[in-house]
Symmetry: none
Subunit: 159 residues, 2 copies
DNA sequence: AAAGTTAAGGTCAATATTCGTCAATAATGC
DNA sequence: GCATTATTGACGAATATTGACCTTAACTTT
């Protein structure tokens, strides 16, 4: 359970929590040195963990006095949240995408565990019906999934 | 009688009971090794036993330091409560029935307003698909409604 | 001011480590 | 016997780690 990536991720999260600013400035080289890894490992952590999907924006600059800046987005307004959901879901999602999106939303405190469970059950039921009873194509099923997911999440975001 | 699947199921349940956390992290490879089976057997146990319908959520990650995380949302539902759901919902329900049932559950504090909203939205979406896209008979639609509602409520383990 | 030097960060591909899926078969329960 | 459930294994997909090589910006020297 001791994954370097997760350790570094945690570290950056703590830096963000420990500041009143909306962002932190990191030094790739120093971080890598501190955790005893190659610098590109930091890029990997950033790319895989601090994504817009998870509510972060990242800026950086090369050269002397270079830095990596991680900015925490806050989506307070319902309108923003709704738009974010549209992007997150897109036009088609498979069951794996759904699980990933829901885990992320719960992690960010946007939905509760029970709400997540309800959404999963609804999606599974729809998948089952679409596959076994109606013999829909996988593509059709995925686009129905996307539509269902967007409606469910929108109803929460706006409410 | 002591099928491998049941033994592994039991093992995971015991892990869940033996922790104060709401979830356990499993290693598919180690588990398989421990029980002397192929790794995909673990997937079978998870898929057939630890479903959202039974109140579990499962997350997993591949690759280095990968894991399977089983989250338990609720305690086992007593038999009588399950029966109560069956009675409450029956074999067919129309949208009006659904609204009535949900209003009642919310009034009794068994579900939140947001959960109610999710269930209603899911039911409406299903109705819409069944009617407009698939041209199902009203009876068929109502029995699908009943099935969906029962699954959703059962997953929340309410009575 | 231009050119060179130094000090950042970025990209990409190779490799290793897990887990997931699917379909064939076997076993079990009715 | 037939239908459902369980077991297995081959193959595929995702994630993590590392290192070689590239790009950019500031500083230094001429």
């Amino acid at each position: 359970m001791a994954s370097l990536t997760r350790i570094i991720e945690k570290h950056i999260e703590e830096l963000l929590e420990g500041t009143s600013e909306e962002s932190v400035f990191l030094s790739r080289k120093d971080l890598a040195q501190h955790f005893g890894c190659v610098p590109s490992q930091i890029n990997y952590v950033i790319r895989s963990r601090f994504t817009p999907e998870r509510g972060y924006i990242v800026e950086s600059q090369r050269g002397g006095h270079g830095y990596i800046r991680v900015i925490r987005l806050c989506l307070d307004m319902p309108e923003e949240r709704a738009n974010h959901i549209e992007e997150l879901v897109g036009d088609t999602v498979n069951e794996q995408d759904i699980r990933r999106i829901l885990a992320n939303l719960q992690y960010r405190g946007i939905i509760t565990a029970r709400e997540r469970l309800l959404i999963e059950v609804a999606a599974r039921f729809q998948e089952e019906i679409g596959r076994d009873l109606l013999d829909l194509s996988p593509y059709k099923r995925d686009s129905l999934h996307a539509e269902l997911l967007k409606r469910l999440l929108r109803s929460l975001a706006l409410g």
